[in-house]
Symmetry: C2
Subunit: 682 residues, 2 copies
């Protein structure tokens, strides 16, 4: 589940905690593991051989993490990380989503379109090179000089490897990460979706949990299974409560250096608005889905996205409400440290005040910026097409460097291809999104807002949405003709959505410019100074914010207290059957219903552990201290959602499908004996 | 509009501001007008004759306020305050909602069922009597002794009058209010609903505004128009910006003595939950309404309630976010004053800490208490019937004093009558509410909550809601039979909703008891001590919280600043036509479309004024310093919604339909010459 967990978020990232991390907090780079702290916290720490072995045995896949678990290229990850592959391979005849995908022989393994697997080979510090390239460069040229040097470093990458320069500590450190990349990746095994995502949205971000959220891929080279001697072994004996565990994966993004002014804005303005907006969208979409099987099918994926977003934002808001005094205390501590150092104080200046002023500026334009620009036409595919077509035509007339980044020469061809791809678009569902967007816009900005007046004219949101949903942009040939026709085609178009977007696009662009000038840029400048002060104070004794590159987190098997309720660390197979009501999303597939009698109910199914992980960590191996794979991380609890802002060691928990459950499924439910033998190293 | 504005809320009320009120703040009783402060703030204050005249000329009607505006019993109030009368009098043949109600002659005026008008005759302090009756009574007997004395005082009321003992300053003062009551109240004039509520939900709680939200009633005695020499005169000349104005009406309820812990709970837990819950309900209901004209009709009133609630709670949350530092500063000030007085400090003890502890206890039980008890089955009429029928049967077996107050002997007959009244209930709409309630319950409490398990059993929210909506409680005869059958009938019933409610009603009752013990009672005890300390410090130099009894507020005609936008004080008739798109809720009735050419566009239509008013003030006269009626208050702006907690003089504004617009409508649109002559005193 948990879409956000597989989002490879690439946003600029900031570390919040201003005092050195304590307890199990931290997502550590493989070249900076806090072994002394681990000794202190766990009474154990890995040696270099352990770290090398784990780094070589783990992998990154699109949006997720994974583990190489056999010498013949077998890769363990989550079912939800390969869902798009399962869907792509499925047909009416072979419904792999519903029935699972179970390759009886290697020849039956099928290639996943667009899937790749990257294994980190080495990390080298390149901070000095970046500093040399940027020294003496004026502020306005800094970013360009830095980026150019990054590109040069990446181009020097040795053949056969994929290199990325990673910005750590907001620019306190730069490192080049070199990956071996496999592009022929085939699906070997995926269980039925309904048992992989058992509990659906009601159980999303909760524990106790019963998801068989794993799948097996295999990497191929030269059309044969790749030899992968550096794989990790699986351990199928049960975990113990309190046992030391580690997670090696690719957390996507955290932003723990936001100031209290930013987080107050997030808590009081951004998140409440997002939550209410998603709640209303859910109400509409559920009602749409109930109109019939077609509508249910058309809206299923969107509903899942909205459900997930609602929980994510609710969890984040809760974390901010509960953790705000921690946040302000940490900020006060950092500011006190800075104020004791005259040079640091001069360098930082009034960075916190500048961020706060930018938040106030943001507040004044917030709804206008969201409804006309950032989230204009939210969830409407047709609106996205229309805006891209209108904007690309206008941007192509400009020099490359002056365009909006989305329409730079380097990106235009891919955007054009995406626009021309045929995909089913239902006008009635589009109308729902457009109407909701327009009616919320009118409500929150009021009828008297000048842009609301321009956008709506004499039309009600309902009438306008009905009109716009008649757009011919549902037709890929029509879209392509407009795309290729450029500015003259746009100017001549009478398509209602093109006419509509064209009419106020300049206003929307000004809002974007205003946002960038008044909010984004001042915040970035101020935060950079805060980050620098912090890195000067603590250096690498802290971990850098998540960057969707390999990290290690340490912790233990552990439940938590939810008010007066004690949440245990484990669930067991028997609980899966107790929870199964037969009604979605608590229904079991036939394979499991038939197997029930022969299954050991006492097998550990899912596990709660205390680890600092976040979106992108999905599919990461949960490891024991011997480096053996004891499960595949697939989610966090509701309190993990605050991990974007800070780590709450008391309640933030990681959720894993246990190796014991994987073994039971393969052995006793699916009878995948060959695959199991391979996993057992037999 | 603005349902909350006509709610005659009777909740226990608390005053927040701990320092003496400043500026235009305050809802003052007629026997305690702050003339010195008014002189200071306005350079003018009313004399006793002015106060007597205004008190005698204004009135209270169910949930609203009103003014007597002619010597023949004519009463001015809001259209939305007589909407239930208009609806009750309407028929398919005479659609008064759509076409308005315009009695050409007095004989055509029609009696409003259940409507009454109460005019305050006198106020007498009875604090000493209550104190005598309660002195020496132990704490647990205090409330009963006080209530008994109140009943005695009310019974002594002279014949022909209606008396109420009002608790002011949380018991710092008690006063008996004597009213003359008219029970024969007839509708004389109501405009078309679409122009009275022009702008509908999008314009609700906003300004600029264009609502012709007025109506005229007439009080009758002995089947003839009552002679009402003490009426107030209307003034039809335009108001000036900045002019001194007063509002005389019946603000329903405020609670300005809540502690910062309570308001943080409100801001962070209660309101965000309510807002998201209403947003989702709105999504469902809008989609339901779009299924067809029947569904639109069935859901119209509920949609309006939900829309209004969404805005009310959003406005309140906004006020708390923006005003929280004011709140904490005021609390700190009061606590500092208390701490300087050893006796006061002893009496208050740790009242603030006790309230905070109660909030924490509330938080732990919050969703369970809401979903299983306080808002169980929210919006489902069938669920309400079922619970009342099941509970009344159980409660009747107990002694009167031990019952839940709702089922006391004094209330049972009315409840029984209400249950037996035939009203259309649509099972498909009921199913929407039940499903939403059950699915939100499961989401927020999780599948593992013991009561969720008990309530849902093996059923999904969707399946269970479908089953419950089959209940025969749609049939009044069926309801009555169960009501009269009592406990044996309940025990024997197989109706799905009765079976359902019966199964977990004891659990819901325990949650109620737990809430009362752990939250309600400790908060009440602590707040009583805070209120007492505050009354000792300030006495009647402050105003008491609103109690839906006559009050006077003073202020001026004034707009406000919304960010960089200046909101003016007036709107004009021409703006109504500019705003009319022809699409609901911005469509004009035929009368207005036809009259447009002959209307003066420069007539003041609606007015923004700075006054401290709140729900219950709807229909209040806006008065000039000569005591002439210059309009009828019908709403507040979005910032007025924070008035429940504190008064924000910079942005809280009252919205009034101007006498000039009323005159224009009667003279130039509706040609109600006789009525206008009466209003003009001709």
């Amino acid at each position: 589940m948990s879409r956000i967990w597989r989002a490879a978020a690439l946003a600029a990232a900031f570390v919040f905690m201003s005092a050195p991390a304590s307890g199990e907090e931290g997502i550590w780079t493989f070249d900076n593991i806090p072994t002394a702290r681990m000794q202190r916290d766990l009474g154990w720490a890995p040696d270099q051989a352990w770290l090398d072995r784990v780094m070589a045995g783990t992998a990154r896949i699109p949006g997720c993490s994974a583990t190489n678990v056999s010498g013949q290229g077998l890769v363990l990850t989550n079912h939800h990380c390969v869902m798009s592959c399962v869907t792509a391979l499925a047909s009416a005849r072979a419904n792999y989503v519903e029935n699972g995908f179970m390759a009886a022989r290697r020849e039956d393994e099928q290639r996943c379109p667009g899937m790749y697997v990257q294994v980190l080979v080495s990390i080298s510090d390149v901070t000095a090179r970046i500093e040399t390239a940027t020294s003496g460069v004026a502020a306005e040229g800094f970013a360009r000089a830095r980026d150019n040097e990054m590109v040069r470093i990446q181009r020097e990458c040795e053949s056969g490897l994929h290199c990325e320069v990673v910005t750590l500590y907001q620019g306190g450190r730069y490192a080049v990460y070199r990956y071996k990349r496999y592009d022929d990746v085939r699906l070997a095994f995926a269980p039925e979706h309904i048992v992989a995502a058992f509990g659906g949205d009601p159980d999303n971000f909760t524990f106790p949990r019963y998801c068989l959220d794993f799948a097996l891929l295999r990497v191929y080279e030269n059309n044969a299974p790749a030899a992968t001697p550096a794989h990790l072994s699986m351990r199928f004996t049960p975990l113990a409560d309190g046992e030391i565990t580690l997670v090696a994966g690719n957390p996507g993004s955290t932003s723990r250096l936001r100031t209290s002014a930013q987080l107050a804005f997030e808590r009081d303005v951004m998140l409440p608005w997002q939550i209410a907006s998603l709640a209303e969208a859910r109400g509409r979409i559920v009602a749409y889905a109930q109109q019939g099987p077609d509508q249910a099918r058309i809206s299923a994926e969107m509903l899942q996205t909205v459900d997930n977003g609602f929980k994510v934002f609710s969890g984040r808001r809760l974390a901010l409400v509960d953790g705000f005094s921690t946040i302000t205390a940490a900020e006060a501590d950092l500011r006190a440290r800075v104020s004791r150092n005259a040079a640091a104080q001069r360098a930082v200046g009034d960075a916190w005040g500048e961020v706060e002023a930018a938040q106030n500026a943001y507040r004044a334009m917030f709804y206008a910026y969201q409804y006309f620009e950032a989230r204009a036409g939210e969830r409407s595919q047709l609106f996205t097409y229309a805006r891209d077509i209108v904007r690309a035509a206008a941007e192509r007339e400009k020099a490359d460097a002056e365009r909006l980044p989305r329409y730079a020469n380097a990106r235009l061809p891919a955007l054009g291809r995406a626009i021309a791809i045929a995909r089913p678009i239902d006008s009635t569902f589009e109308q729902v999104h457009l109407e909701l967007w327009l009616s919320q816009m009118r409500e929150l900005l009021t009828v008297d807002h000048p842009l609301v007046l321009r956008v709506l004219g004499q039309r009600s949101p309902e009438a306008l949405a009905a009109e716009l949903a008649q757009s011919r942009l549902t037709d890929p040939a029509f879209r392509l003709a407009l795309w290729e026709g450029g500015a003259p085609a746009i100017a001549a178009s009478t398509d209602p959505l093109i006419v509509f977007v064209r009419a106020w696009d300049e206003d929307a662009r000004s809002l974007r410019a205003q946002y960038q000038t008044q909010v984004e840029a001042p915040v970035a400048r101020a935060q950079e100074r805060i980050a620098r002060a912090r890195f000067q104070a603590f250096g690498t004794s802290l971990y850098p914010d998540a960057t969707f590159s390999p990290r290690l987190s340490y912790g233990r098997v552990r439940g938590w207290s939810e008010g007066e309720r004690e949440i245990p660390s484990f669930t067991y197979t028997r609980g899966l059957f107790e929870r199964a009501t037969g009604q979605a999303p608590f229904a079991l597939p036939q394979n499991w219903r038939e197997a029930q009698a022969r299954l050991d109910g006492g097998v550990i199914f899912n596990v709660s552990t205390a680890h600092d992980v976040t979106g992108g960590s999905s599919g990461s191996p949960l490891l024991d201290r011997d480096g053996r794979v004891v499960g595949a991380v697939f989610d966090g609890n509701i309190h993990s959602l605050g991990g974007d802002y800070f780590y709450d060691g008391a309640r933030n928990r990681t959720v894993t499908v246990a190796a014991t459950a994987i073994r039971q499924a393969l052995a006793d439910v699916y009878r995948m004996d060959a695959l199991l033998a391979e996993l057992e190293g037999r």
